[in-house]
């Protein structure tokens, strides 16, 4: 697509703005992770560390099993993303393609679950998980996360499915495909950017989530990253340097993932299929 930004110079400036906007806090966290706490209150404030130290990283890893938290978060986020996409694809296909009578109501019901503040649903969800004996397991978090992500994923996918012309599916079905076959072999690949978008949204939502993770998985073996990072605090201390180090550890995998998949999300996979 042609951009409305003329000329390479303007483009470069605009790009610089985007890069600064996105990277600034991350860079700040990185620099802070190399400082000491007293340096943070020095006047005037310092940007580059006076005496860069890796002590914070050492402490971050030794005072808590940070890698375990990372692993737990990853497993939970990955599992909830996969299931969210699966279930949302099915539901989105039904809403987008089938001539169901109460389509709007169905969609509203799915989205309605996200309209309640989580804090008010916390205790009953806790009770449910306890009854099912699922506390302190991965499942305890994956199930609610799928439910939390269902509205976004479904809505995103409905939008993408709707924008794919029906002729392609019909062509496939004339060739002998069933509807379900058409869904997985034609529609989903064509809506790939939408699928990856929904996937990243679901992943990051699960990665970020704090409240449920705090209440349901208090066992350190199943603790997730955001809760773990909050534990570096003390009642009266907020050790920014150590927490920054932990945040760097938390962000790097996601950044890598994004860097790897940004081609898929943003790349023109569909250009071929829809051209002309």
């Amino acid at each position: 697509m042609k951009s409305i930004f003329e000329g390479p110079a303007l483009r470069l400036i605009a790009a610089a703005i985007v890069v600064v906007n996105g990277f600034f806090p991350a860079v700040w966290i990185l620099l802070t992770s190399l400082k000491t706490e007293t340096e943070l209150v020095s006047k005037p404030i310092t940007y580059l560390p006076d005496n860069a130290t890796l002590a914070n990283y050492v402490q971050a890893f030794t005072s808590q099993p940070l890698l375990k938290y990372l692993g737990n978060s990853f497993i939970v986020a990955m599992a909830s993303t996969v299931f969210s996409l699966l279930i949302a694809s099915l539901a989105a296909y039904a809403i987008a393609r089938l001539n169901l009578k109460r389509r709007q109501l169905i969609l509203t019901c799915i989205i309605a679950s996200s309209m309640f503040p989580l804090v008010t649903l916390l205790v009953p969800i806790f009770e449910t998980m306890r009854t099912l004996n699922l506390l302190n397991t991965y499942t305890a978090l994956v199930l609610p996360y799928v439910v939390l992500n269902l509205p976004v994923c479904t809505l995103v996918l409905v939008g993408f499915f709707q924008s794919i012309p029906k002729d392609l599916e019909n062509a496939a079905m004339i060739d002998g495909c069933t509807r379900m076959g058409a869904l997985w072999r034609v529609v989903v690949p064509l809506a790939a950017p939408g699928v990856f978008t929904a996937g990243i949204l679901a992943f990051v939502n699960a990665w970020d989530e704090f409240l449920l993770a705090l209440s349901l998985n208090s066992n350190p073996n199943f603790r997730t990253l955001p809760v773990g990072i909050s534990l570096y605090q003390g009642e009266f201390s907020f050790p920014w340097p150590v927490i920054s180090a932990a945040l760097v550890v938390a962000i790097v995998p996601i950044a890598v993932l994004i860097a790897l998949f940004q081609e898929r999300v943003v790349g023109g996979l569909t250009q071929g299929g829809l051209k002309g």
Partner: protein
């Protein structure tokens, strides 16, 4: 036919019942696991408590004590506990809770009264400092047992006071004058005269109460009813604001949290600081502290003609009302709040004792010399309002105080708001 069937059924069920009873008593004798909920934030010293749990385990074979770390700050712990206790979860047996919580949690029927296990409140609570006795006895029942104490102290730069020939101030006015003098003489624009906490944290409740109490006023009566003296409240708030205007307290005091005061004092930017007991070790031992050996500690100043008062803190041990092992849990609580435990925590962790006698114990004095000064402060300490609605009380006081210190409300408005909101709640 039917009769025979019912007889067989009866026999089988009796057998099952007996077997079941037998099995349960068998398992009861075999092993019990007690789960203790404790914050992970350093101030609750999970490392030291572990040693106390091990002592108990050694004396009571068959009992294992496990720890549940629910959150690093009292905020996060409150979040976690709210969920778990709301759901009447039996998985946690013992709680280590803040001094302001027993009234609230007991009112919510989350705590098991310990009278049946430990004895009559009057007898059980006698050896403890009076303020801890009253904070933990709610409606005539023992809601929790004192673990360790805390209070707000006045820390100061002894070296700077000596350098400029200023003696320790006894009243707030003297403190303001002393601070102004030293600040002027030092000529350092970064030197704060006094650092207090003005952010809307729990400590801000103390920031409100300290000047109020030191005028000799009471916030509530013994029955919990609000007895706010509005003019005195206004005077107290104005006292802080006057110091801000003088330059003794910094302008953005409403951004200052407990940790900020400590960090800034450590960096040498503060002359007088009000803070909890843990700060002493931080000033003395932290590798990046620039004030080692230069720190003094004294009781809080009073208002001229008033009386000295400080805010007490500290942590208490309570048994969950939903616990399945109440008797054993009560025993563990007794162990954790014993004089021996108090001595251990004092000597090993500089945690202030809740027993008057432990302060003057020779081993403790040797290990923690500054406790000699600390004793008088803690003994004169007062507790924040005891209310089953403490959550709301605290929220109103701390938010309003912070707003007044941020100058978005006048002291008069602040006092009026505290009165109007809390009259309904505290009656």
């Amino acid at each position: 036919m039917k009769r025979r069937q019912s007889m067989i059924t009866a026999a089988l069920s009796t057998l099952a019942l007996v077997a079941g009873l037998g099995a349960s008593t068998l398992t009861h004798a075999q092993s019990t696991t007690l789960r203790v909920f404790s914050g992970s934030g350093g101030s609750q010293r999970p490392d030291l408590m572990r040693k106390l749990y091990d002592q108990f385990q050694a004396k009571n074979p068959g009992v294992t004590v496990e720890v549940e770390l629910g959150g690093a700050t009292s905020e996060l712990q409150r979040q976690y506990l709210s969920t778990v206790l709301n759901a009447k979860d039996p998985s946690i047996d013992i709680y280590l809770i803040d001094i302001v919580n027993p009234a609230q949690y007991y009112g919510a029927r989350w705590l098991e009264p310990l009278d049946a296990y430990l004895g009559k409140p009057a007898d059980v609570m006698k050896p403890y400092l009076p303020v801890y006795a009253t904070s933990n006895v709610i409606d005539g029942k023992i809601a929790a047992m004192p673990g360790f104490a805390d209070a707000m102290f006045m820390y100061y730069r002894k070296d700077l006071l000596d350098k400029h020939g200023v003696k320790e101030p006894a009243t707030w006015d003297e403190l303001a004058a002393a601070a102004a003098k030293v600040q002027k003489a030092e000529g350092n624009p970064n030197l704060q005269g006094l650092s207090i906490q003005g952010a809307p944290i729990e400590g801000a409740v103390c920031t409100f109460l300290l000047p109020y109490w030191s005028q000799g006023k009471e916030f509530n009566d013994a029955g919990g009813k609000l007895t706010l003296d509005k003019p005195a409240a206004v005077k107290g708030l104005k006292q802080w604001l006057a110091m801000v205007d003088q330059g003794v307290i910094k302008k953005n005091v409403a951004e200052v949290k407990t940790g900020d005061t400590v960090n800034e004092f450590k960096a040498g930017q503060v002359l007088f600081a009000i803070n909890w007991g843990f700060a002493w070790d931080r000033f003395k031992d932290d590798p990046d502290s620039t004030v080692k050996g230069k720190v003094g500690v004294m009781p809080l100043p009073t208002t001229a003609g008033g009386r000295g008062a400080t805010c007490v803190g500290g942590w208490q041990w309570a048994v969950s009302a939903f616990s399945r092992n109440k008797a054993i849990a009560a025993k563990l609580v007794q162990h954790l709040s014993s004089p021996e435990a108090s001595k251990f925590l004092a000597a090993e962790g500089s945690l202030l004792p809740t027993y008057q006698s432990v302060y003057t114990d020779p081993d403790v004095v040797k290990a923690v010399p500054w406790f000699k000064n600390a004793a008088e402060v803690v003994v004169a300490g007062r507790s924040r309002p005891q209310s089953k609605d403490y959550g709301q009380v605290s929220d109103v006081i701390r938010t309003t105080t912070s707003a007044v210190l941020a100058r978005t409300k006048t002291p008069e408005e602040g006092a009026a708001e505290i009165e109007s909101r809390l009259t309904r709640v505290m009656r």
